[in-house]
Each structure stands twice: as structure tokens, then as C-alpha cells.
Symmetry: C2
Subunit: 516 residues, 2 copies
């Protein structure tokens, strides 16, 4: 059925601090794509955009940050992508809202995309589209691009004062976006005093790194961390960028110390040089320059340095999915295999630990097929449990835990994989065929959207359509299992994860490539 | 509502000549993305793909051909795009079908994308998605990528026998795809004896160049040319590629005649060199190497050299849109302007011709706003009329004419622009917000899809929901005007177009960039 579309010379127009922008309205959802929220010179801190006269169209998504290498089109059935033209002048955001009345004051949900700190964009996944979340949740949804990889996270601080925060320039872009939201979101029907940042994978990491970023204090009020902690990913810097910058200069044929040239060389050349020198530097233990590192701007990993006083006041909703790296071929006819065959498969993978693992798996996941243990995740789940423990001991704000354990109707029954919960949060299963299970998936996306929205509204994800969901307290991780039937469990998999992380320390099935 | 999704280890799988492929089924539509239909070495003719064992997944769109320059993200509200990873190994096709029974024998519609012969892809526009067309029309829809620009259409024939058709390698890819369809489409429920090629802009040009390509004779049976002729675009070659190839070699620092090096140099370097030398060569009158040129493979423009005997037997549906290059800002409050103001605007643009143009415009488009004349098209319409005249004199097969004149609910009433009819043909107005006008757009997409499908089925676009639509005959161009009310007109705008092309020889409003 045709929808109501409005985009005239006078409507919808919103006045921002820098000037007017025009979006469009589709069936009541006000939509703005590609609003520039900041400008930045390479490696330097973002600045406010210059004011303009007249009305700028916000009808096309903006450039996304260049990546170090081109994506390979594969696995689209599991995670459908949108690619987009790239430019380092990439500080754009998108807004979906149900009102442009300054009196509306709806909760604001700001999505931080995944892809580590090196890849992805606000529109990288088809499921990031904000219309359904805004409409069904009556919230203001903001998604944004920011600088990534060597453009956003390479430390050049020893070389010049103006690079003093280049190691966190990408996160500084996000802070600039959050400031833009403080300045402008009222005009889009949003409440600047009720802003939730949420993100998955690298986006989850951005949530907790921003909790530890003093300049972001007060710019957001709640955080959702989806599969945002992974063992072995966030390594501490063992130098301050000098080695990699010097290697880059040498590779590019520039003189030692001539860092200014790195500002103007084309990104393609810079990236090629980086890709050439990075492996050798990494082998030598040198930091590879694509993650936030602690400095004046960023306090550091809360699990290592403790939560800041402000971070303790942030309600957190945190979780992961059952089989994060289950990207490989599924097990054929898994529900027709005999117990013996399945046990043998488990033993082939986990050797002597398999017996105990099976027992613990049966306790944690009594309704799941034993073959799911072959691709069970602990790389994310283990640090997530650790984060929850360390956050929940602070009483200033609640911490809610979830596990996404839905089985998809793909490959004879595919356990949940990294990113697979996102279409449910955004109520976008209509755009991702693999999610669809009549009688099941609609209910689950209603429940998950409802929980996320209630958390954004009230700092509490409870809603009538779910069992009572207590916050975590010391010694008791109450976890909402999102599945065909949602239930609450307590410390349901801690023993399993403890054993699994020792028995399966490596990524299964080439999952290494997923986080770049 | 959740949809029915099927993609198991055993279903849906189709056996092709080279091996088995697996797609997915969504609400009954069998969907296959990214099937490799040919391989090719750079500048050389395509070859059949190597056979494989087992089952290949056809669940991700394949690489698209690299372009000479990156697109700028703008105008998305009018033509929403999908970008994708690029590689010259780009011979991939996609299929949507309602059956995989070899007995189904449904008509096959093969979409050839636009972007001149230099850009675009099978998925470049959101509206190219084939599901709705297949489902609503009960046809097999195929979309495909092929080589473009210097990879697909640069003449190196003087340098080596193996480059003898490099000037038409891109079209040769399409012929390979049509051969693949002959070999394999039965397994996807299609009728290899009822294949229609249809395309818009460059895609329309591909349709008529393939009509003039003997090796494609018998591989398709009908053709639809949508905005596929433009004055001044298809210039004859004034040399055989020697000048441009030599300029490229020089720019790249290779020795004269060392053409082999052009096969292995990276596309990025090749493209950069081409972009550097092309303008100077073009100024010197040298062919810029991105369009098909007549050779043993391709007979030439039928309006210049005549239709081949085989082309005369191809039923053709052909048309354009009212204001092809109306991409610029619309006229504000156009329906509130006085006659005097509108006449003044027309006079500012067309000077002394304005009075006659207004009279002729009122005859051709009695219900349209006079400001639409400011962006009226004749660059496409003029050669389209010429093509129809020259085709319709042959009685071997019918020629049907249409004009798309829908006004979009955008910018206070926006006349139809280049590409704007595509969502209606594909029944994809649900994916393109700007098309939506409750009570109007649903009906129009039903009518247009119905006409296209009936033409594909029977070589005749008539259907009960439209007025009687006669084929064109000498001296009588019967044109279906697709609009809120569809009507048949006869030679309705010939005088207008004749005057307009003299009064407005230039692209208005920067439309030059659209066709690359």
C-alpha cells in the first residue's frame, strides 16, 4: 500500500544551531539523512560546522569513513550490508523521529556502529535503518559515521601538540556528535537530558570507552553494550605511536619526523603503507594503532583501571549472543543426528574437556542441540561476565544482562551469530529474510525492541511482555535469555564459560576476519 | 508480519551446467544472488565458468565492475542507490523466480542496468530488486553485472588478435549471460524461448546494441528500451583506439606498444591514467573509449546503418520520461504562480521560442503545469521518436511507444526525471518513498508492471487495466501516457519536440553528470 510521503519546499524543516535542514516524512516518521555534525582536519580534533544560509537538504546519507581494505561480498544472507562512497570528511549523522515539536522531548537512542574501530558505518548493515525503531518505540533514533582506523585511532601525539588526541580522534568525533545532539535534538522532538548510546561489537566498545571519557560526561545518560567485549582484542599500547609513524614515513619515502606529510598524502597511499608495515610491527609487539588508548581524553578500560565516578552512575544493558562466530557452514540435519554422533563431533573439537563441557552445556542450554556447543562463544561472554561483575558492585546505577540465543531457520537450524540480534532491536526483521519465523520472530522483535526502548526511556528494560528482569547484583547475574521463549536465568553459564575458554581459546571457522 | 524463509542444506538447490547452486525462498520467491555466469581475462572475450563439485551458495550479490571515479552520495531521495565492493571479475547474475520446476517455462525478463557503458551495476539502484516483479508478474527476473568503461569498451584491436573485440567486451559479457540463460534458465522455472531484455538509460542502449549483435540473435526475443537513446551520446569512433592506448602507455610510463602491461597494471592506476589523458584526447576529437563501436561483433546504430534482418523481428517497447534531467531544485509553490509569472520564467529560459513552445506544450501536456516546460526533455525524446519511426516501418514485429509523465509528490510537484519510472516497472515503490501517492501510485505500478509483463509474455503490453494500446505504424506513433490517468495519444508531442530541441540544446541544471 502506498505510504504518505511529504517533502515540500517548506516541510519538514528543522533549524539547527548552524542552519536549517530539510528531511522527509514517511507515514509520520520524520527522516533526516546525512547531517554534518562536525568538521575535522586529519588526525586533529573535530570542530563545529560552519553556519550556512538557507536550507540544506538532509536527503542523502553522507560519506562513510574510508576503510583499510575493501570488503568481500559474502555472508550476506546472515548480515546484509550496505556499502557507500567513502571520504574521511565523514562526520555525518541520520535522524528518525515521530515529531519535530520542541515540546515532544522523546528519549534519544544513538547507535554506534560496529566494525571494531577500523571499519563499518552508520548504514553498513541493512538492519541499522532507524525508521521502525523510531516508529514502534516512539523514540528519536540517531545513527552516525565517525573516523576509523588510522584516521581515527593512530597515535601521533609525540610529534606535534595538534595531534595530542589523534589516538582517540574517532571517539572525539562521537563526542562531537553527542554535543551536536545536546545543541540540536530538541528541534527533532528529542530530550537532550535522556540520551542512550547503544552499539554492537566495536559499537559496544565505543559505549564503554565513552563511559570512561570525561568530555562525554553528561552528554549521554545510559549505555547498551551488545557483544562489545572480546578477549584479546583491546591490547594496551606498548608504545606511543612512534614506531608505527616512523615506519609509515619510511615506507612512504618521507623524511624521518616529517609528519606533516602524513596529513596531505592520499588516504589510499597511507592505508597501503600502513597495511605493509603493520604486520611486522605487530610481530615485534608494537601497537597497531587502531584502538583507543588511554590518554588525557580517555581514562582506560574500566575492567583494568576501574569505572570513573561518572561511569558508575550510568545504567547499563549488556549482553552477547550464544555463538558469536558461528559464521561457518552449519551442521546438516542436526536434529536427526544421534547422541553418539554429536558427542563424537564435540570430542573431535574439545578433546578431553568434552565430557565436562557437554554436562555444563546441558545445564546452561537444556533445550539446545548439542552441536551448538561446537560453535559456542566464550570470547565475548567471558569478558562480559567480568564487566558485569565489576559494574554491578556499584550501586549508583543498575546493570542488566541478556543473552541472545535465538535459533535461525537457516542451514537446518543455525545458532545466533555475531550481529544477528541487531534486526530484532531495530524491529527490522522485515529487511533481513533469515530472521523470519512465522509466529515467533514478530513476537521476539517486539519484546527486544520493547526492552531496549524501555531501558532508553527509564533505565529499566522491564516490560509486561517479558518475565520480571532484575538488575544484576554482586554474586547474582540475572540474565534475560532472548529466544522463542524468553526466560530469566541466574549465573546460568559461568561454569560452562570458565571451562570453554580454556578448551577453545581460538576463533572457530575463520571468524578472525569478522572484526578486521 | 514474519515471512516464510527457507534455506536449508537441501533446499532450494538448482543444478546448472557448471554445478549446483543454493539460494533461498522468501514467501515463495526463489532467490539466487551472485551466480558467476562467465570468466574473462582483461580486455578479452568471456569464457564459460569452470565446473565445480558440491553446492555453491548463491546468497550474496557478486562484485560489481570498478568505475572510473567514486560516486557522490546525492539525490538519494530521487534515486536511492546501493553501492557494492568492486572487482573486474564481475560477471555475476541474480535470479528471482516463482518456481524451480523445469516444466514451469515462465517468461524470462533480463534487466540491463544503466550508467551509460561506464558505470552502474545490477544492484546499483534500490529499485532494481527483482522480487516484486517476479512475484506480481509470475516471471523469472534476471539482473546482471558486466564489464564497463575501459574494461568493457576500450578498443585495443590494432595491438593484438586477442583484443579484437575489446571495444565490445562488456556487451560480449551480456551475450555470455544470455547464453548462460539459454543453458540454465529451465532449471529456474524459465522459458529459454521467451526471453525479454529490458533496460533503462545505458541499459536501454544495451538493448538496441544487442539487437544489432549477430551473436545474440536467438538468445532473446523481445526488447524494452527505457530512456535508452540520447542525442550526442553515441558518437562514432574516429579512430580504432590507437591514440588512447598510446596515450595510456605513455602516461603509465610503459614503452610504446607494450600493451601487455595494460593487462596486469592495477585498475586504479589504469583508471587514473585514463582520466588524465581522456579530456585532452576528447578535445582532439579522439574517441574516448567507453561506448560500443561497430566491428565484427556489433553492426552499429540501427538509426544509422539500418536494422539487421533479425532485429526487425524483435518486438520493441520503447519510451522515455517527460523531464529526464529535472534533477535540480524544483519550482516552489508552482501551482500558486500566476500565468504571467510562469510565462516570464519560460521566456527567461527559451527566449524568442517561448511563445510557440508554450502553445505546443499546452497541446502535448494540457494538464501539466507550465513550469514543467522549463525542464522538459527532448534530448531523449527526439531520438526515441526517430527510432520508433525507423523501426515501425518494418512489419515483422510490433513497436509500442510510451511516455512516463507522472508527477511526484516532492518539491511541491516534481515532474518525472531520468530513472524515475523504474520503481513502477519493478513494483518497488514500497522501497522508494518519493513515489508514494496514496490512491495513485499503487494503481500506476500495477498498470506498468502489468504492461511490461504482458509485453514480455506475449510481445504485446495490452491489459484490461489500460486503454487499448495499438502498435506504432508509419506516420502514427500511438503513445501510452503513463500518469495518474493513463491515456493513448497520437504523435502527441512531435511538433513540440522539434522546436524544443532547437530552443534548448543544452542539458539544463547540471544534468550532464548523470550519465557519466
Amino acid at each position: 500500500m502506498a505510504r504518505n510521503f511529504v517533502c515540500s519546499k517548506t516541510e519538514p524543516i528543522v533549524t539547527t544551531k548552524a542552519g536549517k535542514v530539510r528531511g522527509y516524512i514517511i507515514d509520520g516518521t520524520y527522516t533526516f539523512h546525512g547531517i554534518k555534525y562536525a568538521d575535522a582536519k586529519r588526525f586533529q580534533m573535530p570542530t563545529e560546522v560552519e553556519p550556512w544560509e538557507g536550507v540544506k537538504d538532509a536527503l542523502s546519507y553522507g560519506y562513510v569513513c574510508p576503510m583499510l581494505s575493501q570488503d568481500v561480498p559474502q555472508g550476506e544472507i546472515m548480515v546484509p550490508h550496505r556499502h557507500w562512497p567513502k571520504d574521511e570528511n565523514c562526520q555525518y549523522l541520520n535522524i528518525w523521529t515521530q515529531s519535530t515539536s520542541t515540546a515532544a522531548k522523546k528519549p534519544v537512542m544513538v547507535w554506534l556502529h560496529g566494525g571494531g574501530f577500523t571499519a563499518g558505518s552508520s548504514i553498513e548493515q541493512v538492519s541499522y535503518d532507524g525508521e521502525n525503531l523510531s516508529k514502534n518505540g516512539d523514540v528519536v533514533v540517531v545513527t552516525l559515521n565517525h573516523r576509523l582506523n588510522i584516521l581515527g585511532y593512530m597515535d601521533l601525539s609525540p610529534f606535534d601538540e595538534r595531534y595530542k588526541n589523534s589516538a582517540n580522534a574517532g571517539n572525539a568525533d562521537i563526542v562531537a556528535a553527542l554535543k551536536w545532539i545536546q545543541d540540536n535534538i530538541t528541534g527533532f522532538g528529542g530530550d537532550p537530558d535522556n540520551v542512550t548510546i547503544f552499539g554492537q561489537s566495536g559499537g559496544g566498545m565505543k559505549v564503554w570507552t565513552l563511559m570512561q571519557t570525561p568530555s562525554a560526561d553528561g552528554l549521554f545518560h545510559k549505555g547498551v553494550i551488545q557483544s562489545g567485549l572480546i578477549n584479546g582484542f583491546m591490547h594496551s599500547a606498548d608504545n606511543n605511536g612512534t614506531k608505527i609513524v616512523n615506519a609509515l614515513l619510511k615506507e612512504l619515502g618521507f623524511e624521518e619526523g616529517d609528519v606533516l606529510k602524513l596529513e596531505s598524502v592520499s588516504f589510499d597511499l597511507l592505508a597501503a603503507a600502513y597495511l605493509k608495515v603493520a604486520p611486522e610491527l605487530a610481530r615485534g609487539g608494537a601497537y597497531i594503532g587502531c584502538n583507543p588508548i588511554p590518554n588525557e581524553f580517555y581514562v582506560g578500560d574500566p575492567r583494568e583501571v576501574g569505572f570513573t565516578e561518572h561511569a558508575k552512575t550510568i545504567p547499563v544493558l549488556i549482553g552477547s549472543v550464544m555463538c558469536e562466530f558461528a559464521f561457518g557452514p552449519g551442521v546438516a540435519n542436526k536434529y536427526e543426528l544421534t547422541e553418539d554422533v554429536m558427542r563424537q563431533m564435540v570430542e573431535n573439537r574439545y578433546k578431553e574437556a568434552s565430557g565436562d563441557l557437554i554436562d555444563l552445556f546441558r545445564i546452561a542450554y537444556p533445550d539446545k542441540n548439542l552441536t551448538d556447543l561446537l560453535v559456542l562463544d566464550s570470547l565475548f561472554r567471558d569478558p562480559t561476565i567480568d564487566f558485569i561483575k565489576k559494574k554491578a558492585i556499584h550501586n549508583e546505577a543498575p546493570t542488566y544482562s541478556y543473552m541472545f540465543a535465538y535459533e535461525f531457520p537457516f542451514d537446518d537450524g543455525k545458532p545466533s551469530w555475531h550481529c544477528s540480534e541487531i534486526p530484532f532491536i531495530f524491529h527490522n526483521t522485515d529487511k533481513v529474510p533469515v530472521c523470519n519465523k512465522p509466529g515467533v520472530s514478530d513476537k521476539l522483535e517486539d519484546q527486544m525492541l520493547g526492552a531496549w526502548v524501555n531501558f532508553a526511556c527509564y533505565g529499566n528494560p522491564n516490560l509486561p511482555a517479558l518475565p520480571d528482569w532484575p538488575a544484576c547484583v554482586e554474586g547474582d547475574e540475572a540474565t534475560m535469555i532472548f529466544d522463542e521463549n524468553c526466560i530469566i536465568r541466574h549465573n546460568f553459564d559461568h561454569d560452562l564459560v570458565e571451562l570453554h575458554k580454556k578448551a577453545a581459546p581460538k576463533f572457530p571457522f575463520g571468524g578472525e576476519t569478522i572484526l578486521h
